[in-house]
């Protein structure tokens, strides 16, 4: 009998192999963030130029790879019956979900690296507290991966495609990423602040800012993300179906 870690490692490798050769996924995970860095960093679409653009694009990278891409891929795996077959093997639900999450984190970190290198090339100079930035990115990864897997495991593949893409665009435009919550009407802004997208964007902005953020400032977005991560994980474990 193989160990749980052996099976998780095998599944992580399998997911990575599939992710890194899927054209649509690569477009979503790498090309869109690159285009956004160029669009937001070289224009005045967002005040603050490339310095303001990088945390926003990093948030979009995390959202794209961990949530949208993950949900769509897993939804179609369910539809094809591949997951149904895996349910008869020694691969457990936890092995599957952990393998997917780890592979997604790895791909997201690659995407983040590409965005950072491009940002540096465009004149962005990282400041703030790097470990906190990485911590926020990882927390964001797990949060969105959990919600992506919940969505993929609970809805039909076609519905997953529609909901994941719809949520992706909605969160980018109105979820506190492109337009900061402070720029929205007060009632709306307060609501948006508690969305995971806004919390991640705010956390990354503060963590990577030249002027180091205080712990208290970072605590709220970290707490918001953690709550979303916990709820998403519980829902994914509870409602994820193999078929």
């Amino acid at each position: 009998m193989t160990t749980s870690w052996t099976r998780t490692r095998a599944h992580t490798g399998w997911e990575l192999r599939l992710l890194l050769r899927n054209g649509e996924q690569l477009l979503l995970v790498f090309l869109i963030p690159i285009v956004l860095v160029l669009a937001l960093g070289l224009t005045t679409l967002v005040p603050g130029g490339v310095d303001a653009a990088i945390p926003k694009v990093l948030t979009i990278s995390v959202l794209a790879s961990c949530f949208t891409s993950q949900a769509i891929a897993t939804g179609f795996e369910r539809r094809s019956g591949a997951l149904r077959f895996l349910a008869t093997t020694p691969l457990t639900r936890v092995n599957l979900l952990t393998g997917k999450a780890l592979a997604t984190v790895f791909v997201t970190l690659l995407s983040v690296l590409v965005v950072l290198l491009l940002g540096i090339f465009l004149g962005w100079r990282p400041g703030g507290t790097w470990p906190l930035g990485i911590g926020f990115a990882l927390l964001g990864c797990f949060t969105f991966a959990a919600w992506g897997l919940f969505l993929a495991g609970a809805l039909r593949a076609e519905a997953v495609l529609a909901v994941a893409n719809g949520a992706f665009l909605t969160l980018i435009l109105f979820g506190g990423i492109i337009i900061a919550p402070a720029q929205l009407p007060e009632a709306v802004g307060t609501f948006v602040e508690f969305l995971p997208s806004a919390a991640l964007a705010q956390g990354l902005t503060l963590a990577l800012d030249e002027a180091a953020a205080s712990t208290a400032q970072l605590l709220i977005p970290a707490l918001v993300l953690t709550v979303w991560a916990v709820i998403g994980s519980i829902l994914a474990r509870r409602f994820f179906r193999w078929e």
Binding site: A10, G81, A82, R84, F85
Partner: protein
């Protein structure tokens, strides 16, 4: 005492108000090939799905090697070929099997397995680009990969050409000789007669007949033949006498109940000559599984 490879007791599977399996009990021992047969919707696939842990039983008990289907140690000892699912569409056969092999402690060699089933391990085609028969063989390879002690095959011969079908039957017989317990569902009743040790006939979720193939098909004095549909069987009844009953069980399939004898065959042939009927597949002395399944379905209605 070693528990049977599979023990199903009073299994009930319901989907809302619909009862797909209604109190089925059977056991499968090591080295035994057991076929679940029956019309569509009889509960065959539901039974397999519950036994493989894909679906919970509404009530009843399932034990594989004495343990529940959800037990990980059990899942490492079974191989499953599903009717729907079992392939990763964008993966090549060898990479899919190589990944699966890493989930087991002592798997078969994926390349050799594919080769033995007539699939080129070096093929660059993804499984979705393969023909239906090739996809079936890759699914079978995935089922055989763990060197299973208990093998579930749901419609394994669907989509296979005659030669591949025969190869599969030979392979299954070899596996059972080596001690693998096999549970298969199929509509190919001729295949079942050829390789199954035990047959379970399910109709409407109920087990309506079961036993060794020889006992089932040998039971009763029945002679059957095929001919044009809608023949005037009253003239045949007259020709055979009152000791025999004749029914057209389905279009073109005639069943004669009564003592089988050389005289009966002669009388049938004589009647065919007299009425200009070209009979085919005359079968004397027993029913076919097809007869049994059809009769059971008719009785159920």
């Amino acid at each position: 005492m070693t528990p049977p490879a599979l023990q199903v007791t009073d299994l009930v599977v319901s989907y809302g108000p619909t009862r797909a399996v209604a109190g089925v009990t059977f056991a499968v021992s090591a080295g035994q090939i057991t076929a679940l047969v029956g019309p569509n919707g009889a509960g065959k696939t539901s039974t397999v799905e519950v036994c493989t842990g894909l679906r919970p039983a509404t009530s009843g008990s399932i034990r594989l090697f004495g343990r529940p289907p959800s037990d990980l140690a059990v899942r490492a000892r079974i191989g499953v070929m599903l009717q729907l699912g079992g392939l990763y569409p964008t993966a090549r056969p060898l990479e899919w099997l190589s990944y699966l092999a890493r989930l087991y402690s002592d798997p078969a060699d994926p390349g050799s397995l594919l080769t033995s089933l007539g699939i080129d391990p070096k093929t660059s085609a993804s499984t979705r680009r393969l023909s239906g028969g090739e996809q079936q063989r890759v699914k079978l390879a995935a089922a055989l990969l763990p060197k299973p002690e208990l093998l579930f095959l749901d419609e394994p011969t669907a989509g296979l050409d005659p030669a591949a079908r025969l190869d599969l039957l030979v392979a299954l017989r070899r596996l059972s000789t080596d001690g693998t317990a096999i549970v298969l569902t199929t509509h190919q009743l001729g295949d079942v007669e050829e390789i199954a040790d035990e047959v379970l006939v399910l109709v409407g979720g109920r087990l309506v007949a079961s036993g060794p193939v020889a006992d089932l098909i040998g039971a009763g004095d029945t002679t059957s033949f095929r001919a044009t549909a809608g023949l005037d069987i009253a003239t045949l009844v007259d020709a055979l006498g009152s000791d025999y009953q004749v029914r057209e069980t389905r279009p073109g399939r005639y069943l004669i109940s009564g003592l089988t004898s050389p005289q009966l065959l002669a009388d049938i042939t004589k009647w065919c000559v007299a009425t200009g009927v070209q009979a085919t597949e005359i079968r004397a002395g027993g029913r076919t599984l097809e007869d049994i399944v059809i009769q059971a379905s008719v009785d159920d209605l």
